[in-house]
Symmetry: C2
Subunit: 269 residues, 2 copies
C-alpha cells in the first residue's frame, strides 16, 4: 500500500492504462471485485476517494476486499487513497465520468466501445487518463461529473439498467483490453490444413462405391442422391485430418464388425 504521494510501485510489466478511480465506494467487497475486474483486463492503477469502510487492505476490512479480489491483491496493495475527487484526478490529463443517468450536462456522452479506442491514442501519446466511478447507490455528484471531459455510460436494457460497480469497471476494462488489441487466451487448436479436393473426391468415390455394394441407391436415383450427399459433405469444409477420420468411419461401418468380416462382392457380381 502507498500513500497519496507519487511513490506508488507498479509491476514493471504493466503497460500504461487508464487509472480507475472509485469515489466513496461503500463496501470493501466491491473494491475487491473491482480490483479483480481490473486485473482481468490489464488495468492496474486504482485510486480510492474516501472509501466509507476505510483502507481496503487495512485492519478488519482487509479480508473482505482481498478475498473478493480473488488474487488481484497487487492492485489493492498499490491503490492510492485521496480525500476528495478533485485531488484524485489532479495529475491526470483526460478524465471520463461514468453515470447511468442523464444529468442534463452539456457534455459528450460515450459508450465504452466508443471511448476506448481514442483513449488508447491518448495513452500512447503519453497522456494520463482516468475513469471516475461513483458511489454504489447514488453515483457521482453533478460537481464530480463536471470535472470530467466526457460522460461514459453503458448500453443496457432500459427496463433493467442497474449495473453494479464491479460490472461497470469490468465492461470498461473489457473494452479497454479489446481496444488495445487484447486477444482471447487461445484460438482454434486445429493445425491440420484444409483437405485437398483430391482427398475429398477420393472419399466420395469410396463411400459411393460402398453404398453401391450395399444397395443404398434405388434404381435411377443414384445421380441425385450422390449430388445431395456430396453437398452435405462439402459443407463440412473438412481438414485433411478430418477427411481421413471420416473416411475411416465410413470404412469401419462398411466393413462391419471385425469378427463378421467376409469378402464382399459388388452388387450383381
Amino acid at each position: 500500500m502507498t500513500g497519496s504521494g507519487t511513490d506508488r510501485t507498479r509491476p514493471p510489466t504493466t503497460a500504461p492504462a487508464p487509472v480507475i478511480i472509485l469515489v466513496e465506494p461503500q463496501m470493501a467487497e466491491n473494491i475487491g471485485m473491482c480490483a479483480r475486474a481490473m486485473a482481468n483486463f490489464g488495468l492496474s492503477e486504482m485510486r480510492l476517494v474516501a472509501p466509507r469502510d476505510g483502507w481496503p487492505t487495512g485492519g478488519g476490512l482487509k479480508k473482505g476486499a482481498t478475498s473478493a479480489a480473488s488474487g488481484a491483491t497487487h492492485i489493492l496493495e498499490n491503490a492510492r487513497l485521496f480525500p476528495d475527487t478533485a485531488s484524485a484526478i489532479a495529475d491526470l490529463n483526460h478524465v471520463l465520468a461514468t453515470t447511468a443517468r442523464e444529468r442534463g450536462q452539456m457534455k459528450r456522452v460515450v459508450t465504452p466501445a466508443e471511448a476506448m479506442p481514442p483513449l488508447t491514442e491518448r495513452v500512447d501519446a503519453g497522456e494520463r487518463v482516468g475513469i471516475l466511478f461513483g458511489r454504489e447507490r447514488i453515483g457521482l455528484t453533478n460537481e464530480e461529473i463536471s470535472f470530467a471531459d466526457a460522460i461514459l455510460t453503458f448500453p443496457v436494457n432500459p427496463a433493467f439498467a442497474s449495473l453494479n460497480l464491479a460490472q461497470a469497471v469490468l465492461l470498461a476494462g473489457y473494452e479497454w483490453f479489446k481496444a488495445t488489441g487484447g486477444e482471447p487466451p487461445f484460438r482454434e487448436s486445429n493445425t491440420s490444413p484444409p483437405a485437398t479436393r483430391g482427398t475429398i473426391l477420393s472419399m466420395f468415390d469410396y463411400v459411393e462405391g460402398e453404398l453401391d455394394i450395399c444397395g443404398f441407391f434405388p434404381p435411377g436415383k443414384k445421380p441425385v442422391m450422390t449430388a445431395n450427399l456430396r453437398d452435405i459433405l462439402h459443407r463440412l469444409s473438412l481438414t485433411e485430418q478430418e477427411a481421413r477420420t471420416l473416411r475411416g468411419v465410413f470404412k469401419s461401418l462398411a466393413e462391419g464388425p471385425r469378427r463378421l468380416r467376409t469378402p464382399k462382392q459388388p452388387d450383381g457380381a
Copy 2:
C-alpha cells in the same frame, strides 16, 4: 417457476434472444447474479442443469439467488431445470460452449464480439440458440463442449484470466445487446445548435474590445495574441447557447462587481 416442459412464460415484450444454460452451477448466489446480468442486456431465458444447491427459487435457497438477482426475479421464476446438458439443449438449433482453456477440440473459437452479430442473424431467422456456461471451478466437460457448434471464449489478460460465472454471462450479454443495436440509456442532452460564425465573431469583437480597454495587449502584440485567443475559443466548438453563456462571463468580468460599476472610457480617451 416452470418445469422442464414447454410451458414457460416470458414477459410478452421480450424479443427472441439466446438461452443461457448454466451447467451444474454450484452456488445459488451465482445463479442470481447471472440472472441480473441477463436482465441488464435483454436476455430472459435461463436453463439450469442440475444446480448443486437445487432449485434457485425453492426453499432455503430462494433468498441467496433472488437477493443476488437484484430484481431480476422474473428470470429465476421462469428458469427451467434439466437433469443433464444434452436434454437442456435438445430443442436448440445452434449452441456455443464457453471455456477459458484450450481443450484441444477442432472447433471454431470465437469471442463474444465475433459471435454475437452472426447469432442475431440466426435468431432473426427463427433459430433457437443457446450458450453453455460451465461449473464455477471446472467449467464444462469435454463431452459437453463436444455438443456445441463453436467455442466462446473471452479476451482477457493472460496473467489474470479468471472470470467468474456472472462476469462471463455479463460479457456475453453485453455483446449480444450491442449486436442487436442496443444503445446507452441517454445521449448528449444538449439540444442547442452549434453557434453561427456570426455569434462567435461578435463574441471575439466584444472580448477583444474589452481587453483593449483593460490594456491587456502589450504594444505591437495585439495581432498575434488575438489570433492565439481566437484559436483557443474556436477549439471549443461552442453551441449557440454556450457562446451566449461565455459572452456573459466575459461581460460580467469586464464590468466588475455591480456596486463598483462606473462608465468606462476607451484607453487614451
